[in-house]
Amino acid sequence: MKKLLASLGLAVALCAPAMAQSIAVTNGRIVTNTSAGIIENGVVVIRDGAIVAVGNDVEFEDQSVTVIDANGGWITPGLFHPHTQLGLIEVGAEGSTRDNAADDSSFTAALDVADGFNPSGTHIDEARSEGITRFAVHPSTGSAIIAGRGALADSSGDYDSLFASRRFMLVDLSTSGASTAGGARTAAWAFLRSAIEDARFYPGRFMAHHEGDAIDRYDAAAMVGVVRGEMPLIMVMDRASDILRALAFAEDYPAIRIIIAGAAEAHLVAEELAAADVPVIYDPMRNLPDSFSTLASSTDGASILHTAGVQVAYTTMGSDLYFNPRLLPQHAGIAVAHGADWADAFRSITLTPAELFGVGDQYGALAAGYTADVVVWDGDPLEVMSAPTSVIIDGEIQSLETRQTRLRDRYATLGDEGVHAYRH
């Protein structure tokens, strides 16, 4: 039961409308992520899955409206995590539960995470219970540096929760990518440029034979969206000099839209990133020289990037991408503690990620016309002691129950040894 009211049939049985539901979220501090800024003691009105009104003086008196009282808490857009493997990994160390990396496949760009995504993964429920309503699903690299195509999903856990597939392409140009490609960064870049050429001359180059210079026919077809600028190319890298190479690449191929993920040293080249209008997916928590590519990594980085005007979306790389994407607000709080503006940081886990994937007009803000992904919090969402009290996705009130809360409730009090497994 992902939803309180799972279907129209059930809803009718319970005499409560699930579809075409009207909800008014009242009595809260509203973070709009629009020019309206923060609205104190406001109301968000939802109808038919969309936000219809946001403000102080909003009429919502209606017999059928469900009122959610925020009790003076915070009302925000649902969090949008730009960088997860939710639904691809259930248990990290168990290969049989992972579909993120096709290690032994010869395919590259054609790999599509939608084929492996499982909306029933328990960590999706946990992410939802912590306020994440939308997320990007990323592949990992397998046999080649081009990992394949990512997708966008909501966290309802419904079978139709994957709402956009083949939305971006991922390529690993980090130290590990260099190793995968043949032992040096030179090999990784040669492979990528060659694969881009294969795609640019698709299908002509493949008339006579199946193989391209770097990738084969089916993979080249998948790369076409990248070279036409229809899907962004996400480049995983950390070192400042690598990021400059990526900017040079983007200049060579003006049609290709790139996003830098990882970007530990991005703040060293913040001006260049801003000038090139290249966004980054960045973890404010990472501050150690964990490799020779992250020597300058610093908790000051997020603030520097924002100040320079770089489009920044935050990630949870320093925790993980499949069990703890739900820690996204904690990571954002670290940015604020180290100088980032609260509004910039919050935008980096809501509207900016939506914009990166071309859906910033539907998700990430509270304004009339936006999809009704709304979270009610018992305090400042970036405070580690705060938590959601209500989560709404597509205008539907979500369950906050997870496998973890079931375990918690089972062991909250220890009873008779012989019966514990029957209770709850």
Partner: protein
């Protein structure tokens, strides 16, 4: 034959070396009351402390921290309170304390003070940054029983992770070998100070610890090589076999000492470095710190500890401690846990964010730990998360109680609770002044004192440590 032995008196420890009268050296916990009165028989006792701490506190003056909200680390929260530090120790706590002449007075009004943060589970130095191949020194992955290796012999004191941990208020940390082996080796408790040597960081007189590991890691590492252990039952057989050997070894030494002290002409047993460590556990001098996730496995280990007559001091990770707080309490065994990590392997699948508060509320000794060079930088936030999740399920736990999870609880579990881990008169002045409530996302450590010396000052770029590795690198000093 014993040319490498130092001559020592009879110590508390059962395996110091006595003999070679007249050239006794400093080293072990030893006095010089010889057990040999025959004059012609040397009683051999091996040195228990061949790599002694050379730590000396940085110079410090008298400091008065004035007007803070003070969490004492043992449950108390005191508003508008002053703390006087003299000679590296806390000399007075109260309201309206007079500043002695020459004292440095720090205005901490509106700010918060806690004891220095203690991480009972760190691999800083043994898995340092950068994590290049040459730095992988935390697991002796060549045999499942390596109780003879000591983490301090792998610690690289120039790990930049020590700097970032200090900036987060960590004043003491326990560095362990990894969990590849059933017996991973000895851990070491360090002061978080810059030093050219690891000995210069060692917490004076802190007891040694032994790292052991349950579950998936040992059986995977060795099972994949076609050798034991390849299963959980193989793990337990491996521990028991080693403990049985240790018990026999200990008996041989005890017999030998008894006979030698009676003047009999007997030869000492052959020295076994692995069994020296296990014998130290059986003697109650080395504290067992055991990596164990599942409740059922912890229950097996507790029975085994009774079988061989030793105490498990702390289960580390203990993701399922919340299922057995009663068992842990009954055995006096602590659980050192994350706030909310899990899912990375099957034995971590039942991780819940309420693990720490449920275990605590169930009467067991519970605390936070990091096991991470990033996590160690926000143990205050990790405690805050666990506390708020506990409260949300209805557990009544005060901020002051929860503060013990990162201070006095780990201090006690490391056997250094008399020295640090709380704001009490006479304790080492290991103190953090926070910019705001330590359970807020936005609070940072403003000033960090170790033994009364200001080791980190957020407002003063010259008062931040920079390990050798970072000199001349991009980002030097930015962390």
């Amino acid at each position: 034959m014993f040319t490498d032995l130092k001559a020592l008196g009879v110590g508390l420890s059962a395996f110091a070396v006595l003999g070679l009268a007249g050239c006794a050296q400093d080293g072990g916990e030893a006095d010089n009351s010889s057990g040999s009165d025959g004059g012609d028989v040397e009683v051999v006792r091996h040195d228990t402390n061949p790599f002694p701490s050379t730590y000396t506190p940085a110079p410090s003056g008298t400091t008065l921290i004035r007007g803070a909200t003070v969490f004492d680390g043992i449950g108390g929260e005191m508003a508008n309170t002053d703390i006087l530090v003299e000679n590296g120790r806390i000399s007075a706590i109260g309201q309206g304390l007079e500043a002695p002449e020459g004292a440095e007075v720090i205005d901490a009004a509106g700010r918060f003070v806690t004891p220095g943060v203690i991480d009972i589970h760190s691999h800083l130095g043994v898995y340092p940054s950068p994590s290049v191949n040459a730095h992988s020194d935390g697991n002796e992955v060549t045999a499942p029983v390596t109780a003879e290796v000591w983490a301090e012999h792998s610690v690289w004191p120039h790990d930049p992770g020590f700097d970032t941990a200090l900036a987060a208020g960590v004043t003491t940390l326990h560095v362990l070998p990894g969990s590849a082996n059933l017996f991973g080796g000895r851990g070491v408790t360090l002061r978080n100070v810059p030093s050219r040597t690891t000995q210069g960081m060692k917490f004076p007189d802190a007891p040694y610890t032994l790292k052991m590991a349950c579950g998936e890691n040992p059986k995977r590492v060795y099972g994949n090589r076609g050798r034991a252990p390849g299963s959980r039952m193989g793990n337990v057989a491996g521990y028991r076999e080693a403990w049985a050997r240790a018990a026999e070894y200990r008996q041989r030494w005890q017999d030998y000492w008894e006979d030698a002290e009676a003047g009999e002409d007997v030869s000492p047993p052959s020295r076994d470095l692995e069994l020296d460590t296990l014998m130290g556990v059986l003697d109650g001098e080395i504290l067992v710190q055991m990596h164990c996730y599942r409740a059922d496995e912890m229950a097996v280990i507790l029975d085994m500890a009774e079988e061989f007559g030793y105490q498990v001091t702390t289960f580390h990770h203990a993701v399922e401690a919340y299922k057995i707080p009663d068992l842990l309490a009954e055995h006096g065994t602590c659980a050192a846990v994350w706030a909310d990590w899990g899912g990375f392997k099957m034995e971590a699948y039942d991780s819940i964010p309420e693990n720490l508060p449920i275990t605590h509320a169930g009467g067991a000794c519970a605390m936070i730990h990091s096991d991470s060079d990033l996590g160690i930088q926000r143990l205050n936030q990790e405690v805050a998360k666990a506390l708020s999740d506990g409260r949300r399920m209805g557990l009544e736990i005060t901020d002051g109680e929860a503060m013990a999870w990162m201070t006095s609880r780990p201090a006690e579990a490391l056997g250094i609770g008399d020295e640090t881990g709380s704001i009490e008169t006479g304790k080492r002045a290991d103190i953090v002044i926070w910019s705001g409530h330590p359970f807020s996302s936005y609070s940072l450590a403003d000033e960090v004192f170790i033994d009364g010396a200001l080791m980190y000052d957020r407002s003063n770029p010259e008062r931040r440590t920079i390990r050798d590795f970072m000199l001349g690198q991009p980002g030097e000093g930015d962390y």
